[in-house]
Symmetry: C2
């Protein structure tokens, strides 16, 4: 196994750029997973890492040893000094395992005979929120997610961490013109809104397929995208309160839909 100890090593520079530089990730069509949980989720989904990077400590961990046995022969194995590893891992207690993956290319979109729901996100820039939204969508059984160009990069290490493996069970489409996409969508298009026309979420029949739309924390959906909604929903809140975190609002909507379908 190749050992890297210098920060001038080109491979280390490459890995650091994958962590820090969104444009570099896009150019390389690659990203870096941090931790054994994400690596296992990727392997479970049939994603073969290009490289796996280990810290000195990680190699003695049983968990990691078991994962290494699942790597394809084409996967390059590297060892990094702990000092260098810490530079690649933003968490306080680095797991000691990193994996470089090629970004999956989502299949072409067709809504012909669509039976599943879809999730559309416009301008969600907070990595934690975006990752949590993806995690919630996956747990709710959604398979396709569409992000406007103003969203944070779905495959950044921070979003991957918050997604906890959701990325690998979703089809994630980035840089999507949401209004053009919605022109093809045959079902209801729902947005939450503080609007007198909005109906109580719990009174809406959510059993048919829905395109769910959520906007940025500060501004919500743009007027152009909001105009695509076929219905507006409001989540009934306690008096004196006016808003929810976008990922909390989505969790309430998507699992109310799951509840209705299970009745």
């Amino acid at each position: 196994m190749k050992l890297i100890q210098s920060r001038d090593n080109p491979l280390f520079k490459h890995l650091r750029a994958l962590v820090e530089d969104a444009r570099y990730r896009r150019e390389q069509a690659a990203s870096l997973l941090d931790g054994d949980h994400l690596l296992r989720a990727a392997l479970d989904a049939g994603i073969a890492p290009r490289r796996v990077v280990l810290g000195a400590r990680a190699q003695t961990q049983e968990l990691v040893t078991a994962l290494l046995e699942r790597l394809p022969p084409s996967c390059e194995l590297l060892e990094l000094s702990d000092a260098l590893l810490r530079q690649l891992s933003p968490v306080e207690t680095p797991s000691g395992v990193l994996a470089e993956i090629a970004l999956p290319v989502p299949a072409a979109v067709s809504f012909a005979g669509a039976t599943g729901d879809i999730l559309l996100l416009e301008g969600v820039q907070d990595a934690g929120n975006l990752g949590t939204l993806l995690r919630t969508a996956a747990a709710a059984g959604i398979q396709q997610v569409f992000l406007s160009a103003q969203c944070a990069q779905a495959w950044s290490p921070k979003v991957l961490r918050a997604g906890m493996g959701a990325h690998f069970v979703l089809q994630i489409h980035e840089h999507v013109a949401l209004d053009e996409l919605l022109a093809q969508w045959p079902g209801e298009i729902l947005a939450t809104a503080l609007d007198p026309r909005a109906e109580n979420l719990f009174a809406i029949d959510l059993r048919p397929p829905v395109a769910w739309m959520f906007g940025s924390e500060g501004r919500g959906l743009s007027a152009g995208v909001l105009a695509c909604a076929t219905r507006l929903a409001q989540i009934p809140m306690a008096s004196g309160t006016e808003s929810l975190n976008v990922a909390a609002a989505a969790a309430i909507c998507l699992f109310e839909q799951r509840r209705q379908r299970s009745q």
Copy 2:
């Protein structure tokens, strides 16, 4: 209005310590609000800031001018150079308004004749998650929240920001021995768990008062606190997925309860 331009100014050092140092905040029983939204929420809740700090740009904003008219005469008004202001504000586009408040002291706890629900959090250390949990609790109509000693500090600037004003409509009790507290609670005590004994959340009658418990992201609830639960609930997730962000899980539970009560 007093203008501060030097980072050696004792008052600036005091403000910076309020932002950065959890122990200092506790010693001073104070914290720093960032932005006009939080300042308005505090004023709406009858909380009088000790000091308001303005950047040069903020003073020409109508929004801010309107807020300044609501400050009590005892409130000290300071101006900070933009360079210093940026050091106090972790967001990229500082709003230019900061307010120092004394931490509210929650009223003594009594569950005699309790009709409201309570939220208990154990070991929630991520500031964004904790703030979102508080925001969701307030929106769901919960009034009392109890945090174990291992939680992040509820009144840190980051948690305040994610809470979006929820702090001012809640009674937040910190450093609580959750098991001792629960010994006094007369109602159901619910935790979500991946456990064969757990009942489907949507099949549980949630209309009577509930003490809701949520644990840390990684480890969940400790065995001692989990043992206090009178029922376990599981949120039905899509196959192949196993978990939700703690704040998303809480949003689903608390709003399912709201839904049941509104039927």
